[in-house]
């Protein structure tokens, strides 16, 4: 006790923290880069403007929806109805647009609808303690059935050109790309720097501890579902306005693609961890793989099998990593 030992506070450099904190995101990003290089060397047409634009713009709505889904999964829940919801939003939006309402109404009303629906789902989950998978399963039936019985799956055409926000280009880049990038950044900042964002991680990680820390778990749950509704709403508008017509049906398997993007991007299905940047990168990775298979002359029919293997590999790696770290 004679000489005071000056202790060295152990810590990590910014770079180390970045690598350990964003491991999965870095892996996904590097995979995208590697794919572009390898496929580009094999077939340079892969790298031309049109193709890159179609990879990014055509799938931006999936990335936007995956942002909200990631928040839901981080909070310890799941939403299997998001695909149906996006179909419903697109149809409401298109119907409003062709019925002579102002364009902004056609954009805004469906988004508000989406927020309301999801807040309702969140309330059932939070206050009535019904598992989210059950509520959203029911919601899926209601939305899908309601859509088809109301429209008969008809096509909406003659949409006003000003409505087509997803077809706009700024500096030669399609607008959905801007939506995707800006919303991802905003959501990432929100998740990292606001109390609400941190509360989502806390509630998903250990709901008892969150309550003991004075957080209102129920309100957080409703809030995160409402936020998810916002992102699903925007995704629905992007989906509705990317083509000249809107088909009033539910895009097949969309919910699974969205959930998968979140999970591949590093969001643990067990809740409490993951980022929205990862899910956006994963959505881009899927689109890139899909396009790459075509350019590599691999039959597009094998796309889903490749994705399936990819999910499985990611999940197994995650479980093995987890078991080692605890």
């Amino acid at each position: 006790m004679s000489v005071a030992v000056v202790p060295i506070r152990s810590g990590r450099s910014g770079f180390q923290r970045f690598v350990t904190g964003y491991g999965q995101e870095i892996v996904v990003a590097l995979s995208i880069v590697a794919l572009f290089i390898v496929v580009g060397l094999y077939n340079p047409r892969f790298l031309n403007d049109t193709n890159i634009n179609s990879i990014f713009a055509g799938n931006a709505y999936i990335a936007v929806a995956a942002i909200g889904m990631s928040m839901i999964i981080v909070a310890g829940h799941i939403d299997v109805s998001v695909g149906s919801l996006i179909g419903v939003i697109a149809t409401i939006s298109g119907t409003l647009a062709v019925s002579g309402y102002p364009i902004w109404v056609a954009w805004l009303v469906p988004i508000l609808f989406s927020i309301a629906v999801n807040a309702g789902v969140g309330a059932l989950v939070a206050y009535m303690r019904i598992p989210s998978i059950v509520v959203t399963l029911g919601m899926l039936s209601i939305l899908k059935g309601g859509l088809i019985s109301a429209t008969g799956g008809a096509w909406i055409s003659d949409l006003p050109p000003a409505f087509m926000i997803a077809q706009a280009r700024i500096f030669g880049v399609a607008s959905p790309v801007y939506f995707m990038v800006v919303l991802t950044i905003l959501a990432a900042l929100f998740m990292r720097y606001t109390d609400f964002g941190r509360a989502i991680y806390a509630v998903g990680g250990n709901i008892e501890a969150a309550r003991a820390a004075g957080l209102n778990a129920e309100r957080t749950t409703v809030g995160v579902f409402a936020l998810h509704g916002l992102f699903a709403g925007i995704a629905g508008i992007l989906f509705a306005t990317q083509l000249q017509v809107i088909q009033s049906t539910v895009p097949p398997n969309l919910e699974l693609t969205v959930i998968t993007a979140s999970v591949i991007g590093g969001v643990s299905i067990l809740g409490g961890t993951g980022t929205v940047i990862g899910s956006t990168l994963a959505a881009i990775l899927f689109a890139t793989i899909g396009s790459a298979l075509i350019f590599l002359n691999v039959s597009a029919y094998w796309l889903r099998a490749v994705l399936g293997l990819l999910i499985l590999a990611t999940v197994l790696a995650d479980m093995i990593r987890r078991r080692r770290s605890t």
Binding site: P7, I8, R9, S10, G11, R12, Q16, R17, T20, L189, R192, Y193, T194, D195, R198, Y201, A202, G205, N206, E208, A209, A210, R211, A212, A213, G214, L215, S268, G272, T273, S325, T326
Partner: protein, 503 residues
């Protein structure tokens, strides 16, 4: 020295669904004192500290902070009043970093209102430094930390809330000895800062080393509050149990027969290391040791949950391989696990279903479970063991701890075991049921059953065992027989840090 209490509970009472768990208890903590709270499980300690922490509202009585009456409707309000809790189950977020766990819910903010990560990490570092925990990385995921380090995170969390009173609920229950010493050092630092500490523990040496005053509860009532200098261990124990301790245990018979189970150099990874001993019929062999000493892990290895990775297990002199609990059961080995709610029982199922669970093979006639026979066995068990249940169809969740333990016992005795391993056989059980279980154990041993008993309670080990083995760091540190067994020698063997492991 007589400062005004920081927090006072005055004549508080609390009932749950008509059951009175606390009545007329008065308790206070002064700044800079350690006030130990003692009592058996079910005495009302946890209810009392939950009332203080704002998790429960008292039905009667009042809470005073600095002499002024307050009413907490949430843990958050208790935090604001300066009361923080270090929970036994460590309420932390495993996926988040140390820094965020310390500050969650009250994070430092940047001027534009966002979470200030830089400042948060720095302040978390400072808090941990003040707890002499310089080695704890503020960026580490809490899920990757040891129990002792998680506990330091919780203590840092309490300090970050400027807590004036810190409630510690059995903080050393799952710590290794070296960590216990460090924790005691931290408690003294808090005390020096003027923080009042409510210290709940069963471990007498800690209480006598740390506490200024001690309060004992029994059956929800306040038995007494004394300065630590005015009491000794015997007095405290008799206050806790309400009678003298030597009447607690049945008379030993000492009629052990021949060796039935023999372990030779049995190991499981590096957790159970080179264990050799023999268990004889008709004896109770007690295993003492701290949590983490490998005693439960040894039981799990014998029972086939974590099959041995080395050495040999001999049953009746013949080597056997025990690869699963099913295999252990078929060899006549039964295990009454440590965690009744998680490992012992299916709480949502009935008494009958639980008792049948380990005996499905025997209860099956043809392809089907003979539910009449299962019911008859459950009824017989209820009478035989005096299980206080409404009937065999009652869901076990609704039974008291002692009766739940009897259901677990009944389940395993129905398999007609020859070797019974009991891990903490009386944890969380009231005094009456405890004595019943002890008598039953003695009776079973008298009938020729070989019993291996693991216990954290030294009096239980000494009172029940014919022989005692002490485990430490995965090894058998010492064995005692007959008059050699004294609390001192057993305690010394438990806590001795062997040179091999310290290095």
């Amino acid at each position: 020295m007589m400062t005004e209490p920081a927090v006072t509970l005055n004549q508080v009472g609390k009932s749950f669904v008509g059951l009175k768990v606390l009545s007329g208890v008065t308790f206070d903590v002064r700044p800079g004192e350690v006030h130990a709270l003692l009592g058996e499980n079910g005495a009302g300690k946890s209810t009392l500290i939950k009332i203080m922490a704002g998790l429960h509202k008292p039905d009667e009585g009042e809470i005073l902070v600095d002499g002024k009456p307050v009413s907490f409707s949430s843990p958050r309000e208790a935090h604001h009043a300066g009361i923080a809790t270090v929970h036994q189950e460590l309420l932390l977020f495993p996926e988040l970093t140390v820094a965020e766990n310390v500050f969650l819910g009250q994070t430092p903010k940047t001027p534009w209102g966002g979470v200030d990560w830089t400042r948060m990490r720095k302040r978390a570092g400072e808090l941990l430094d003040s707890l002499d925990s310089h080695d704890l990385d503020v960026d580490a995921r809490v899920g990757s930390l040891s129990v002792a380090n998680r506990q330091r995170v919780e203590i840092a969390r309490a300090l970050s809330q400027e807590a004036r009173v810190v409630i510690m609920d059995e903080p050393t229950a799952s710590l290794a000895e070296a960590d216990v010493l460090r924790l005691m050092d931290i408690v003294r630092r808090l005390k020096a800062r003027g923080v009042g500490i409510v210290y709940v523990s069963h471990r007498m040496p800690e209480i006598f080393a740390l506490a200024d005053r001690v309060t004992v509860l029994r059956d929800g009532n306040h038995v007494g509050t004394h300065d630590i200098g005015d009491v000794d261990e015997t007095k405290l124990v008799s206050m806790m149990v309400g009678r003298a301790i030597d009447k607690l245990y049945p008379v030993k018979q000492g009629t052990s027969g021949e060796t039935i189970l023999e372990l030779k150099d049995v190991s499981y990874r590096s957790i159970v290391r080179n264990i050799s001993f023999a268990l004889r019929t008709g004896e109770i062999l007690g295993i003492a040791g701290l949590v983490g000493s490998g005693r439960t892990e040894l039981a799990l290895t014998i029972f086939g949950i974590t099959p041995a990775t080395g050495g040999a297990i001999l049953l009746d002199g013949k080597p056997v391989t025990i690869g699963s609990p099913g295999a252990a059961r078929d060899l006549g080995i039964a295990y009454i696990p440590e965690d009744r709610g998680l490992q012992g029982l299916i709480r949502v199922q009935t008494v009958t279903e639980n008792i049948a669970l380990a005996n499905l093979k025997r209860l099956t006639r043809g392809l089907f479970v003979d539910s009449g026979k299962a019911l008859a066995e459950a009824k017989r068990a209820i009478t035989q063991f005096g299980i206080r249940a409404r009937g065999p169809d009652q869901v076990v969740r609704q039974l008291s701890g002692g009766n739940q333990q009897k259901v677990v016992l009944a389940k395993w005795l129905a398999t007609n075991p020859r070797i019974l391993i009991m891990d903490e056989p009386t944890r969380g059980i009231d005094v009456g049921a405890k004595a019943e279980i002890h008598q039953l154990m003695r009776k079973l041993a008298g009938e020729g059953l070989a019993i291996l008993m693991i216990s954290s309670e030294l009096p239980e080990v000494l009172g029940m065992s014919d022989r005692v083995m002490v485990m430490n760091s995965g090894r058998i540190a010492a064995s005692f027989e007959g008059k050699d067994v004294t609390p001192e020698v057993v305690g010394a063997a438990m806590t001795k840090v062997s040179a091999r492991d310290a290095a």
